[in-house]
């Protein structure tokens, strides 16, 4: 109601302002002043009307908004009036303030080799001997040890574990630090997922967390960061969480890990079927066969070992398995 009245006032006043021209000499200062007084009143009414029209968050800045509407209407006579009305219409109808998302162009990433994790395969034997040689200068041994930072953790861990008993404090401490940080990272991850697992309300997210936990515990073993009872504890945990994991029936990788864990725990009879399931779900044979051969070896079934390894010959480029095949006289 008030809106309509204010709008009416505004219109009438504006008409009156322009109407003054009919009666007056078009070059007089009196007309100028009268026109602007009437026009300003009209603009004020229009601005007030506008304030009532706009709603929601816009209202918070009502004084400034009023001033803006007023100045547009007042200082650009006629045209400003029209545009303020248009804005009112826009604010009422068009979702001006709805956030649209645009695709933005991205530059091509530069090739930055720094970010690539260094993974070099090298022979660790020489390094190991050198590190254990306590007659070698400490400086060089330290440098040799630092080299291990570039090696995958599963290769470095055994060497580092040995060095914890070294005579030199510096060497020991560096080795300790190098062992500690990957384990620290894994443990932090484990804790995070454990909380997720505990707090999970629905079965799928709980199973998802269990899947992560199983993988993380296995990673502790795989990277050689845990020994003895702790290794067994990690294996038990990994197995326990694995058994809560969903979609196990369809995921070959999980069956493989299941088998590895069972084998780790010494449950050889159960491990075999797990490997076979992984195999039947389509895991490449070179990834499963060596473990089956290992099981056969544990059963002292050497002919089976030989048979399994022979089938590996069918798969080319098994460079990592070559020494093994050579040992068994197959390659």
């Amino acid at each position: 109601m008030l809106k309509a009245m204010l709008a009416l006032y505004a219109l009438l006043l504006e008409c009156a302002a322009w109407g003054l021209f009919v009666a007056r000499d078009s070059a007089s200062d009196v007309l100028f002043i009268m026109f602007f007084m009437t026009h300003f009143l009209a603009s004020a009414s229009l601005a007030s009307c506008m304030l009532l029209i706009v709603s929601g968050e816009v209202k918070k800045t009502s004084q400034a908004l009023w001033a803006l509407f007023f100045s547009v209407a007042a200082f650009m006579p006629l045209l400003g009036f029209v545009v303020v009305m248009c804005i009112a219409f826009a604010l009422l109808r068009v979702p001006l303030f709805v956030k649209k998302t645009h695709f933005s162009a991205l530059g091509l990433p530069l090739l930055d080799p720094r970010d690539r994790p260094g993974e070099w395969a090298f022979r660790q034997a020489g390094l190991r001997h050198f590190l254990h040689n306590d007659r070698a200068p400490l400086d060089q041994r330290l440098r040799a040890l630092v080299t291990l930072k570039g090696a995958p953790t599963q290769c470095a861990s055994p060497v580092l574990h040995d060095l914890l008993a070294d005579k030199s404090d510096d060497l020991r401490l560096l080795a300790y630090g190098m062992l500690d940080s990957p384990e620290k990272r894994l443990n932090a991850q484990i804790h995070k997922w454990r909380l997720v697992w505990q707090k999970a309300v629905d079965a799928p997210s709980r199973r998802g967390a269990a899947r992560h936990l199983s993988a993380l515990h296995w990673e502790l073993i795989y990277q050689g960061l845990v020994q003895g009872d702790l290794r067994r504890h990690a294996a038990e945990s990994a197995l326990r969480f694995l058994e809560q994991t969903p979609d196990k029936e369809r995921d070959a990788g999980l069956h493989l890990r299941h088998g590895r864990l069972l084998q780790e725990m010494g449950r050889i009879e159960e491990a075999g079927p797990a490997y076979h399931r992984a195999d039947s779900l389509g895991l490449p044979a070179p990834r499963v066969l060596p473990y089956l051969a290992e099981l056969a070896f544990a059963r002292r079934d050497f002919s089976e070992v030989l048979r399994l390894l022979k089938t590996l010959r069918a798969y080319p480029d098994q460079s990592r398995l070559q020494p093994l095949l050579r040992f068994w006289g197959i390659a």
């Binding site: 930055d112 080799p113 720094r114 690539r116 260094g118 440098r143 040799a144 630092v146 080299t147 930072k149 570039g150 914890l164 008993a165 404090d169 510096d170 020991r172 401490l173 560096l174 300790y176 630090g177 190098m178 062992l179 500690d180 940080s181 620290k184 443990n187 932090a188 484990i190 804790h191 454990r194 020994q227 003895g228 009872d229 702790l230 504890h233």
Partner: protein, 524 residues
């Protein structure tokens, strides 16, 4: 009394204790030792100069200040590192001065003996604002030329911005130290309880005022900094595989290590006597540049009489409690203790593990430890007790455990011995000497517990099982008591320090006395 304005102030004092991040804000072995020493010499008026990193890193006072501490000042080296920038204007800087700074750095880079004349000249300029003020370092063109030149000649890491900030952060506190040295109240002798920044402050004071400087080193400061640096992940390495010689530490790690080595070097050069806690550390000091004739050992001691009373309060049975006494910080390797507890949980389920020590120094690590224990599902078998009074704790526990990766001569083992508790420790610092004895005669007393390798929970668990067998335990208790009474009583330590102090104070009384090396009162 946590308010710094309430600290006592005096116009002068006898001995200034230069303390870096220990007494009275941090509790722990070194702090207790400082407290012990101050209380042992009520006739000496001490000034305490505390150097910390940032004010917010420290809580309230952990010790009541004894009455003979007549003056306390606290300084925070890393506070307001970046609070400048308001009226920063370029300035030319003095080329001659920076060439002397260059001489000093060249001297540092050369191996072997050092001529510290450049050091004296440079620090005098820093101290008295003669063309080498902090502003000269931060903003002058000469300084820029110096930094870029050093970068080009020596830096193996490509990132200039990291190099630049490493240099800045490394050097900026030095001006704070020269300021402290300039404004300190008159004292008759200096006693630094570590090298590092405190040691450098000692050297600055000793060299500029001609005062005797006593250095007592508990841990080896440079070694401890190295551990921090090896484990640090905050220092960046920007080399790519083509630039990287993978046998080298990141250049910035190396820079910091050299920096701390040189702080130690300068302090060793200015201090006499240089006191270690035990022989291995003394040898290490010599290796790090201390001249042999100034070094000596004074082991820690405990108040055997007071602690002996606790033996009476022990029950009949050996409590199946392993207690790690110490601050929950990475260097104590609390996690290995937790791992060992998991192993023991399977093999000897009655055993409990306690961790007694403040958790506020490194809250992140403390949280990590709790989470780790949770992950392993240890439940009530492992308890974090927080800080505990030794008197309350000792009668309730069966074994004092230390899993540290680095220690000096830990007081808790001595306290445990005195209170009749055997020790189970890692093979670090003087632990082997404390448990098994040093020389023939000492070793004859028997083993006061067990020593195992670091970060080896299996061995730790096995040793704990063995030590908790009554026969072994009682033998260890007897050996421990005998050893601490014979070699590690506080009277012994106080006597030795009394001689050190008297020498320094008497020396200082002779006006115009040359800074001739004093003979260390004790041989190795």
């Amino acid at each position: 009394m946590s308010n710094e304005e309430n600290f006592p102030k005096a116009a002068d004092a006898d001995i200034a204790l230069l303390l870096e991040s220990t007494f009275p804000y941090i509790s722990g072995g070194v702090s207790s030792w400082v407290n012990q020493i101050i209380q042992a010499f009520p006739e000496i008026r001490f000034a305490v100069v505390f150097l910390g990193s940032r004010r917010k890193d420290y809580g309230n006072l952990k010790y009541a200040l004894p009455d003979n501490v007549v003056h306390v000042e606290t300084h925070y080296l890393y506070d307001d590192l970046s609070s400048h920038g308001v009226d920063v204007v370029s300035r030319p800087g003095d080329a001659a001065v920076f060439s002397r700074v260059g001489d000093l750095h060249d001297a540092f880079r050369r191996q072997g003996a050092v001529d510290l004349s450049a050091f004296d000249e440079v620090t005098a300029r820093m101290m008295h604002g003669r063309n080498l003020t902090l502003k000269d370092f931060l903003h002058s063109e000469q300084s820029w030329a110096f930094i870029t030149d050093s970068y080009r000649r020596f830096c193996t890491d490509p990132s200039f911005v990291d190099y630049f900030w490493t240099v800045r952060i490394m050097h900026q506190p030095l001006w704070k130290l020269t300021d402290i040295a300039k404004n300190m109240i008159p004292v008759r002798a200096l006693h630094a309880v570590s090298t590092g920044y405190a040691g450098l402050l000692g050297a600055l004071l000793a060299r500029s005022r001609g005062l005797p400087l006593i250095l007592s080193e508990h841990g080896i400061y440079t070694k401890e900094r190295k551990i921090d640096l090896y484990q640090s992940e905050w220092i960046r390495d920007n080399r790519n595989p083509f630039q990287k010689d993978s046998s080298e530490l990141s250049h910035f790690q190396t820079m910091w290590i050299h920096f701390f080595e040189w702080l130690g070097r300068i302090c060793y050069d200015s201090a006499d006597p240089i006191i270690a806690l035990y022989e291995k550390n003394r040898l290490r000091q010599i290796e790090d540049g201390a001249s042999e004739e100034r070094t000596c050992n004074i082991p820690n001691g405990v108040n055997v009489g007071r602690l002996a009373a606790l033996r009476e309060r022990r029950g009949e049975k050996i409590p199946p409690v392993l207690c790690l006494i110490g601050r929950v910080v990475p260097i104590k390797d609390v996690k290995t203790f937790i791992r060992a507890m998991l192993i023991l949980a399977n093999r000897m389920p009655v055993v409990e593990g306690w961790i007694a020590g403040p958790v506020d120094e490194d809250p992140a690590y403390a949280r990590e430890c709790r989470e780790f224990a949770e992950n392993l599902g240890l439940g009530d078998r492992l308890q974090f007790l927080g800080f505990q009074q030794i008197e309350d704790l000792m009668p309730k526990i069966g074994v004092v455990v230390l899993t540290s990766i680095s220690e000096a001569l830990p007081l808790v083992i001595l306290e445990g011995f005195a209170a009749g508790v055997p020790a189970l420790t890692t093979d670090v610092g003087a632990c082997r000497q404390l448990v098994y004895g040093l020389d023939e005669e000492d070793r004859a007393l028997g083993a006061g517990g067990r020593v195992v390798g670091i970060a080896n929970p299996e061995e730790l668990a096995d040793a704990a099982i063995s030590l908790l067998k009554p026969d072994n335990w009682y033998a260890a208790q007897a050996a421990g008591i005998a050893r601490v009474e014979k070699y590690y009583s506080d009277e012994l330590m106080f006597d030795r320090y009394r001689a050190v102090y008297m020498r320094a104070l008497n020396h200082a009384c002779v006006p115009g006395a040359d800074f001739a090396p004093m003979r260390c009162p004790f041989g190795g």
